[in-house]
């Protein structure tokens, strides 16, 4: 019974902190119980020590350092400060909006890239067979022939057909090249020819062009091909000139053949 009473009194002493706040029953118990009296005395002394610890003061430059710190934060991170002041919901919304914008941009670029690829693949213009162009070099100055092997085999070239023959392969080839580059195939090759080149044998040439003549004083200037992708990017390819050995030989000999064949080959 006494132990039970001491336990309650000790709990009251520990909660009270000092003997001055004890109840009358606890105080009367302390007069009879030496153990509880010791506990109460220790508790009072401990309370006195704790309350006598005093206050540790802030340093004299506390305000100055605090102002400097706040000013530095204002200077350095105006955006981060305002962003940090936002509530969690607003911050989440802002982050979600930024992510949405980035995703939309990526999606737009991807869709645009796919559209270009589809245009390059599904070219509606049917590839036309390449007809050998009429070269003025083939036709001599006095020639009345058109230079075709068989005029009946050739389609009648309207202006539209000529335009298609002239531009379509180049445009589709260019689109394929652009699509290849967009797909990351920077070094991919492309085949410009739709049909094989026409082969003209010597006999056919003699039969077709009986009076064909080539001017021997034709320009030796190299052929230049300019390619433009209609986006402002152009490239000029210089093809080396081809000279025939007999041409030079004939021009240097003084045979009657040369005299008769002067200026023509």
């Amino acid at each position: 019974m006494r132990n039970m009473n001491c336990e309650n009194i000790r709990r009251e002493i520990e909660e009270a902190g000092s003997a001055g706040f004890l109840s009358a029953a606890a105080r009367s118990h302390l007069e009879d119980c030496a153990a509880c009296q010791t506990l109460s005395r220790q508790q009072t002394n401990l309370q006195a020590i704790l309350s006598g610890l005093g206050t540790v003061e802030a340093p004299g430059d506390f305000d100055f350092r605090l102002r400097a710190r706040l000013a530095a934060e204002k200077r350095m991170g105006a955006f981060s400060l305002s962003f940090g002041n936002l509530s969690f919901g607003l911050r989440s919304t802002a982050v979600a909006a930024i992510l949405l914008l980035l995703g939309s941009a990526v999606l737009f670029v991807a869709l645009k890239s796919n559209t270009n690829t589809e245009v390059a693949r599904g070219d509606k213009v049917a590839p036309k067979p390449i007809t050998p162009p009429e070269s003025p070099a083939v036709n001599g100055p006095g020639s009345t022939e058109t230079g075709r092997k068989s005029p009946s085999d050739e389609p009648k070239a309207t202006d539209q057909n000529q335009l298609a023959v002239r531009h379509t392969p180049r445009d589709s080839g260019m689109r394929r090249a652009v699509a290849g580059i967009q797909r990351g195939n920077r070094f991919g090759t492309r085949d410009e020819s739709q049909t094989g080149a026409q082969i003209i044998t010597r006999d056919q040439l003699a039969g077709t062009y009986p009076t064909a003549a080539f001017p021997i004083n034709a320009s030796y200037q190299s052929l230049k091909v300019s390619v433009d992708d209609s986006r402002g990017t152009s490239r000029t390819i210089s093809l080396p000139s081809v000279s025939f050995g007999s041409q030079r030989t004939l021009s240097q000999t003084s045979s009657p053949l040369v005299a008769s064949a002067r200026d023509t080959w």
């Binding site: 005395r41 220790q42 508790q43």
Partner: protein
């Protein structure tokens, strides 16, 4: 194993205190700070810099660190001035911020395992081993020296307490806060606070027997 919990600074709207119309009250000063009045904030700093520094120092036993954390406390008050709600007393609000910072610092120290090689004192309830320097029992000639040694001893003994006992003991016996204020600052019920303070006193009494 004691677990530390960071206290949520957002107060519930259960107990609303009316904002005192006194322009020198803490609420009025913070309201003025919100509108850009730097002098009002300086007045707030002047009122609380010493108590907050002292409280954090008693929690961490590191003066320089306590000053830094006290400054961080005021920086957070300044940043959150727009979001401050006059639900509780400003002192409760700022002590709660300081408590969170001090607990975070103690956690960092635990992670870094900053313990002295002079000795360990195992906590009674199975907590982390705590450093404790036993008191020098030789008689000292000067009473002032005895008091100084006693204060140092009690400060060291406080640092051996688990954090969940340390904060309420300091707030009650050193800072002189009421149980109601302590329960608001720490976000715990008054019964729990009383129990923890009682246990903390018991720990200290055992460790300080030579001085009591």
């Amino acid at each position: 194993m004691d677990t530390l919990t960071t206290i949520d600074v957002n107060f519930s709207a259960a107990l609303r205190h009316e904002v005192v119309a006194d322009p020198t009250s803490d609420h009025a000063l913070l309201e003025a700070t919100r509108t850009g009045d730097e002098d009002a904030f300086a007045e707030l700093v002047g009122r609380y810099r010493n108590p907050i520094t002292n409280y954090i120092y008693r929690m961490t036993s590191d003066y320089d660190g306590a000053v830094d954390l006290a400054q961080e406390t005021f920086v957070r008050v300044y940043r959150a001035a727009d979001r401050y709600q006059t639900t509780y007393a400003f002192s409760t609000y700022i002590y709660r911020i300081a408590t969170n910072l001090a607990i975070s610092e103690l956690r960092k120290r635990k992670r870094r395992k900053l313990v002295s090689l002079t000795g360990f004192f195992q906590a009674r309830d199975g907590g982390e081993p705590q450093e404790f320097n036993p008191p020098d029992l030789k008689p000292l000639p000067d009473t002032e020296l005895v008091d100084a040694e006693r204060r140092n001893a009690v400060q060291r003994a406080i640092c051996t307490l688990p954090e969940k006992y340390r904060a309420p003991l300091i707030l009650r016996d050193v800072e002189g806060k009421s149980y109601e204020d302590i329960s608001r600052i720490l976000g715990t019920s008054e019964g729990t606070i009383k129990s923890r303070i009682s246990r903390a006193r018991g720990f200290l009494r055992e460790k300080m027997t030579a001085y009591l």
